[in-house]
Symmetry: C2
Subunit: 190 residues, 2 copies
């Protein structure tokens, strides 16, 4: 997606250790017009899947997932990282290591909003190590749902997430792929 | 906003102690089409303010804020509740009591994305005690920005947030107002 690549080139910052700062348009300040364009693109790419629900993880996945849901006319469920008081006692919970937080985080979904037989499209901001997305896949599987596709805004190829997830046999699409962040650079793969 | 009121009537749950569960369309599963309609309504109500930025707090404010930003063509900044590694050391931070979490939470904004001279429109899911929104107002003021308006999806009038915020002299608009949740009911005020 050229508009996203252009924005990363103009405003993204390589902070070292594989950390790409995109806080000006995705992770702290969000550009709704850019996210809307990304959502339209995901809707086009995944139109054929027959998805019934979008699944993401709080917090940064919400914006692209919401815009994808808008274009596909589907509800969006975001896995919570702590259990709110409105959630029933019995939940689906898995644990995934967070690269950016440097610790394990919980991913929690209420059985009220993820049922057997659903066809889930997972949308997130980054595909890095793939551990968060693998956690979302586990939650969907425990709920008896099928994951039909995985879409991310930015893939950091060098962190191996696609290698981790590929054995699942689920289509994985990223709007922008980065092959290297060595020496302070941001090298796109396409 | 009739569509939101209808949805609360159909699916909202009064859990007691003033807690309104709207996890099926706002707080855990999100209805993007409903949020888009709410965003269009906020954009209409606040069109005259000359806002330059939308401000909200993670997590549940993001969906309505993002859709408002889409309709107004404005960036959205969401205050973080923990400081990510991509944020500079020097930040704007305030502390606000969270009714639903039963503890104090931090609200953090990077000075990179909130500057003096900005005209901020605050959008959030609930106006309850008003403490989170008062925290956002403080952050904006510390940054030298002016808060031009406050919009929330659902106001629980009986929790007094409007009384807390009114002395600020900022226009406050809620799309749906609830006057009582006594005896397991959900009573709309209009």
């Amino acid at each position: 997606m050229q508009a996203l690549k252009d924005r990363i080139t103009a405003e993204g910052k390589n902070l070292g250790h594989g950390i790409l700062k995109v806080d000006g348009f995705i992770n702290h300040q969000v550009d709704p017009t850019l996210m809307n364009a990304a959502g339209a693109e995901f809707a086009r790419i995944f139109a054929h899947l027959g998805a019934t629900k979008i699944l993401t993880a709080e917090i940064s996945g919400i914006a692209p997932a919401l815009m994808t849901g808008l274009h596909m006319g589907l509800p969006v469920v975001y896995a919570r990282k702590s259990k709110p008081i409105t959630m029933p006692d019995q939940v689906y919970l898995t644990i995934a290591p967070s690269h950016t937080k440097g610790r394990m985080v919980e991913l929690i979904i209420s059985p009220e909003y993820l049922a057997g037989g659903e066809r889930v499209l997972i949308i997130d901001d980054f595909l890095a190590s793939g551990s968060t997305i693998a956690g979302l896949v586990r939650l969907a599987q425990v709920a008896g749902a099928r994951v039909a596709g995985i879409g991310t805004l930015i893939e950091k190829i060098f962190e191996g997430g696609r290698t981790l997830l590929s054995p699942l046999g689920i289509p994985i699409e990223s709007l922008v792929s980065i092959s290297s962040m060595d020496d302070g650079q941001i090298v796109f793969s396409d």
